[in-house]
Subunit: 205 residues, 2 copies
Amino acid sequence: MKGELFILSSPAGGGKTTISNLLIKEIPNLKRVITCTTRNPRPGEKNGVDYYFLSKQEFELRIKKGEFLEYAIVHGNYYGTPKKEVEEELSRGYDLLLVIDVQGMRQLKKNKKDIITIFLIPPSIDELKKRMEKRGDPEIEIKKRIETAKKEIPAWREYDYIVLNDEIQKAKDNIKHIILSQRLKTSRFNLGAIKDPELKRLMGL
Amino acid sequence: MKGELFILSSPAGGGKTTISNLLIKEIPNLKRVITCTTRNPRPGEKNGVDYYFLSKQEFELRIKKGEFLEYAIVHGNYYGTPKKEVEEELSRGYDLLLVIDVQGMRQLKKNKKDIITIFLIPPSIDELKKRMEKRGDPEIEIKKRIETAKKEIPAWREYDYIVLNDEIQKAKDNIKHIILSQRLKTSRFNLGAIKDPELKRLMGL
């Protein structure tokens, strides 16, 4: 049975990275989509784990070949979601979690209809600021990101689900409900779960 | 915000009563729909708690008045789901859990489009038998109920969700995912959860 592609967006400082790491750890058969970028790796970041780090030339070649589900330029660097990896993992039955911004979600929706979109919302703009300050983002970056957040938040209605992140564990559990409930849809029922021959016959399997 | 009506069906011995009791205890703002019947109360059963116990005359009057979302005769007794109570509780924002059989689900679907249906499936027919024996059902009843189960199981594809009950806690948690994920849908977002005036303005609330 094919997996589902879950899109998680939130403003910078909204908690999407922390929460997606927790989800990947807790939910079996859920994988994070590794996206591509032309920006330089930060200390500790690994190619193929955090991102696929590509040269500008390589990235532009892949754009030409139509190898991205969506891509964008952010602060002068390319970011993109590789089509082939996503389709392959979904076909293998994995659910995928893709953390992208509002623009990315919009672009992706055009190229792929069957996605499930989740918007993670902070309890307040002040809380966003505090979180960025706490993790040591430079003041000029914080200002820029708050401005971006203010442009992104009105898009919440375009998402299938909205999760308030006033408490990390609660927000994580709520996204877990969304992901796990999809697996229980009749259309996605794991036929292998039924071992009893009589029951199988009755179910028409 | 209006609540959702969740329909839970399973063959006799499938675990629907145990699981629905656990769900009602664990999930805030989820209530069980109390249905009406003309059968006699069993020892310990209370009017307005287990069922609304009605006379045959009263039940038939209510049928005439169109006061049931669905009703049926089972082993010579009427059983029915009262329309008014359901609509009132949903309007008050409660989610409702209604345990009915396949026939009831089909009839209800005709009268009410916006329901979410869940089929609870046992791991095997033998397991059904064992559970009924364990709780002391008379042998003749067990036979009859297994025959009914065999007629009901093929209907699983008509439901929105299917949950395997090979382990009560797991099955309960799975139904919990289904119920709680509905509350996170953008269309059902609890606007009162946002207190920050700036965020409210950005969200267009």
